[in-house]
Subunit: 372 residues, 2 copies
């Protein structure tokens, strides 16, 4: 199924407030290293809203979307990581798997790779997707299920055809938001017993809360200002909600931390205000973990120096975390990051999904494209 | 001896190129938490040259110097960490020992503390020194020697009176430069097998080389441009010397690292050029460890984000490192950071010591003030 289909539906960005679902050719492998998947689930990311809101430049007429899970339909001759029929997670970074960045587990900064969305056939909000550098990019869930780690585990479904909607939603978050929230938590060096502050209550911020909890934070302060999001933050492990911004947020966090500041700060927004507030509530010697794309952020060289404040983070090396920790946690049902999806759409409804996320009517929009 | 003396020699900063040794009152404890030491050894720091070279503001008529070891002469009534006669290291940061920064091991960013030099009676290039917040600030070497860790170790001299000049020089570096170089190495997260670049060949940079080696770096590239310093860098563990700056340094380091960049970068200068070069040779996902006081440095928020470059560091929590690792390494003779001292002066000769360091005639000037 799929290999003989030649036309697909694909979401195309045309300009601020204007995304359309159009017919495009089903992509083929362009190099021996490429594979193609039939997309099972995709979604709309907070960062897709930057061009949608005209806050980031993006070229009109380009496919959009960088989060997907699906079933392999075609593989180039050099691909060894998967075969047609395998169920895979496609992390948002394209990575060669061989350079120093990839070898160090930072494949999201691979100089030979890039990110999904933009190039023809490489937008994830589509029925099919071309995956370049497949061996360095995808996570093969089918093979993982057959591996010794999971094969004998009765808590894990053994056939992707048995994945229910909830499991597919959890797995889809591993293509970006759960891995990105986890990167914020790892970057800010959360340790057991820590007090963590999570800036931002989008899907990434909520996954940041879940990740801080997973890494042992004892107290987790979320800056959520929306009750639907605060409810998920609490479910994910937030112990305190500070629905404030700027000086008020700083005062509230300092009051909650006995004037000390937080041991860990997950910056999941990327605006100057969020970064600045995050820095101000970081206790001396702690690290701010940033995963929000910086927009107008400046890092004060001296102020951070005297307080020994570290700054770490960037695009999340999702694949590294998925293979190391997160796939197991999802397959075993230990975490349910898929709860960030509050509404499901068809591929034809993607423009509505953008409008709903833009208006904050949904936290994160899931798109059901096909079945396993 | 000392407690009945009322006048001492003390180095006073008057302005660019102008430090003088004058008579000042021997300091007394001002609070129950203070102690006073008779200084045995002190030295001139690269950072003392900033005001000497008119590159940093500093008030005329203030005592200068922040590195010392010595013998306790007086203790305030609340001091428990030492008694008169004890031999102590006085790290350059003054720290309360009780706040969140101190508890987290970042006492060099203690909001209740500060740094030696400046306040009357608190300049280290003097015959006596007042130590505020003594319990949170000093390292008591006499008590350490009597502890189970060292008491039965035949490799360790058991009485400070037996310390020879070389041991005193090694111990003196623990008040700042060895701890600061170590902070650069810890901040940049050196791990066994790593390739590290050390920006700067001052005493801190050289101690950074030694620290990278101590933490297991396999290849250590020093940017030394002076043969006397390069020789010590090699002795301390440098495998490569790149005597270049700017684009040329970047090209050379990238060539040495197969185009990948370094796994760890110790920024021990603090100028914009050094920091910028350091960032450019850092491989994606690595951390730049900075201990040079920033002068005109800007941290690019986006450039570091996409490459997942971390920035950590600040004033070194010397006391934490000395108690955890460095005192044992020095007492057991495993490291000889005192080799950064290339000339010894009397207290009266301190102005000459500044002039010699300023002219790079010596790497670091040791001042012999009294004997144990």
């Amino acid at each position: 199924m799929g290999a003989d289909k030649t036309v697909m539906k694909s979401t195309i960005y045309y300009g601020p407030g204007d995304v359309r679902v159009e017919e495009r050719p089903v992509p083929e492998p362009l190099t021996p290293q490429d594979l193609v998947i039939r997309v099972v689930r995709t979604c709309v990311c907070g960062s897709d809203l930057w061009p949608y809101r005209a806050m980031d430049a993006s070229s009109a007429g380009k496919p959009i979307g960088h989060e997907s899970i699906g079933v392999v339909t075609q593989v180039g001759s050099a691909v060894t990581i998967a075969a047609p029929g395998d169920f895979v997670i496609v992390p948002f970074p394209i990575s060669c798997g061989e350079c120093a960045a990839c070898r160090a587990g930072f494949e999201s900064s691979c100089p030979n790779g890039g990110y999904f969305g933009g190039a023809e056939g490489q937008g994830c909000q589509s029925e099919y997707l071309r995956v370049p550098h497949a061996d360095g990019t995808v996570v093969n869930v089918s093979r993982a299920l057959a591996s010794p780690e999971f094969a004998d585990d009765p808590a894990v479904p053994h056939d992707p055809h048995d994945f229910d909607d909830a499991m597919l939603a959890d797995l889809l978050t591993l293509s970006d938001v759960m891995g990105t929230g986890y990167h914020a938590a790892v970057s800010t060096e959360v340790k057991p017993g820590y007090t963590a502050v999570v800036m931002g209550d989008g899907a990434v911020g909520l996954c940041g809360v879940l990740s801080a909890k997973l890494l042992g934070a004892e107290r987790i302060i979320s800056t959520s200002r929306h009750e639907d999001r605060a409810a998920i933050a609490r479910e994910f492990g937030a112990t305190d909600i500070v629905p404030l911004r700027g000086d008020d947020a700083v005062d509230a966090v300092m009051a909650l931390t006995n004037g000390d500041g937080a041991d860990a700060v997950l910056e999941c927004v990327g605006t100057a205000q969020s970064f600045d507030t995050g820095l101000r509530v970081t206790r001396p010697g702690a690290v701010i973990g940033r995963v929000g794309l910086p927009h107008g952020v400046t890092v004060p060289a001296e102020g951070t120096f005297y307080r020994n404040i570290g700054i770490k983070g960037g695009p999340a090396p999702v694949r590294t975390y998925v293979r190391r920790t997160l796939l197991a946690a999802v397959l075993r049902g230990q975490i349910h990051p898929g709860h960030v999806f509050t509404k499901t759409y068809t591929i034809d409804e993607v423009p509505q999904a953008y409008a709903d996320m833009d208006a904050r009517r949904v936290i994160k929009a899931l798109v059901r494209v096909s079945e396993v």
